[in-house]
Subunit: 299 residues, 2 copies
């Protein structure tokens, strides 16, 4: 099947998705504000190019940028691509954004005759590279049908959550609420254990076998034991994503006190200058406050 | 191997452990303040009896009561059993208690020539009945050796956490911090999702396959979907156990804000009269506040 597509955002997630699409034999144009990201992708078989030139020939645009403002800029900004797409083309939007924003983007795309899939992704950079993401998707049957080859190439599991945009982003918000709280709680529990003489490696050995385990604990706690804060997922993601959760909750008249408390801890981590470290570095907030020494850090 | 033992506390956990010991062929005397619990156990092959009469012949006393005050009463109260045990007998203490309390009990038992194992349990009533608990144990080599048959009969996994009491209870406190927060966070996420149109059964279907899953979420969220609040683990456990965590943290100069916030939610549940329901009923706190209707309750 011949697919002509563009990927906007060639960071850790977008790059993996773009490469998965190359492997599937699609023609993939890559766009990123970082020139090195584009050059790397071209060296791997991708295409660069000019939005205005490329747009009319595209079947699909996949947007894997950081936030709602960037999505809006890519789609409808000064050089926005949507007005340049042919009717019947499809946009797949993968950033974590408020559900209301996703509904708005769908509406504006549809008014240009362009299909829209609200398609936040989950799974991390390794699964992105393997084409094994989880995708929490909602949108019209036409959008799902048009994007079937892309979803096949990039996802292990596609959760089909409804026929209008917003439902995918809502599920992603629920996912981020849980994931963000679980990481912070892991750090709280590990450092609390340290005050009671439980070493971080013993914590990992015991807890991962118990009913108090979480996916995030099992994934992130070993980073602290290894002193390895290579940012597979940055601290900076959480003030943004838990902010979306709480803003969405507030609009719905819903109070989420545990999420609020976790967000405060991530904000403390950012204030300590840890924003670009792996999110397991939230343990440093607790360690600093309690005067604990975490396992020695890899340089 | 012939073991003569007593189990104090024949509730959901103690009853399962006592039956597992019967299956192993031990002579088991059961004690409980609830006469029906003792009668049920006698009908199953256990023995009742008088503490003063039974004590001198016992090898082992297993204490599976609710809290530290009950442990102290069983061991050293007016009819306390420890002063009546032969030298070289062993106490295995399974309640969730502060680590400092466990150290104190070990010291007082030792002064009577009695071994002590700090042995909090994890896994719930089903695993207790199957003899497949997780036991977070610390104590002297003599205590571990003497209790080997009991541990074999009741546990799937014994975590050997150190050679003095306190380490087992510290790990249990870490376990309860995580478990208590994970249950409350599950409720927060599920009800938040409901405000965005995500039905509880869809929440369970999607989230259990994602990186935001936790053991507790997977175990407890289906109770809410089924409207089944049969108390496998009561709301009332959490104000007690998270209270132990926070008291232990305070003594160590450690601040645990997420745990504090979760504790407040459990206290709200108790204030709503939900203390004796399954702990998944904490979702009712969120639902009441946000005006959401949870799945219909089984009667």
């Amino acid at each position: 099947m011949s697919v002509r597509m563009a990927v906007f955002g060639l960071g850790s997630m977008g790059h993996g998705m773009a490469r998965s699409c190359l492997r599937a034999g699609f023609t993939v144009h890559g766009f990123d504000v970082v020139a090195e990201h584009v050059a790397r992708f071209v060296a791997e078989g991708g295409k660069a190019g000019d939005v205005a030139e490329v747009a009319p020939d595209l079947d699909t645009v996949v947007v894997v940028v950081l936030n709602a403002a960037q999505v809006e800029s890519v789609l409808f900004g000064a050089d926005g691509i949507v007005p340049r797409l042919r009717k019947g083309a499809t946009v797949m939007a993968c950033a974590t954004v408020p559900p209301e924003f996703a509904k708005d983007m769908e509406c504006r795309c549809n008014s240009h005759g362009v299909h829209y899939l609200d398609a936040p992704i989950s799974g991390g950079s390794v699964k992105a590279a393997e084409g094994k993401l989880g995708i929490m998707a909602s949108g019209s049957a036409a959008a799902f049908t048009a994007l079937a080859p892309i979803l096949d190439a990039t996802a292990e599991t596609v959760f089909r959550l409804g026929d209008v945009a917003g439902a995918g982003s809502a599920m992603k918000a629920v996912n981020q609420l849980l994931a963000g709280v679980h990481i912070a709680t892991m750090a709280e529990a590990m450092t609390f254990g340290m005050t009671q003489g439980i070493k971080p490696d013993v914590f990992v050995d015991v807890i991962a076998k118990c009913a108090c385990n979480s996916w995030m604990l099992e994934n992130r706690a070993p980073h602290i034991v290894a002193g390895d804060y290579t940012p597979h997922s940055q601290v900076n993601i959480w003030p943004k994503d838990l902010g979306i959760v709480l803003e969405t909750a507030r609009t719905a008249g819903f109070h989420a006190p545990i999420t609020e408390t976790a967000l405060e801890q991530y904000k403390r981590a950012v204030a300590m200058g840890l924003g670009h470290e792996d999110d397991a570095a939230i343990a440093k907030v607790y360690a600093a406050e309690a005067g604990l020494v975490l396992p020695e850090e890899k340089q």
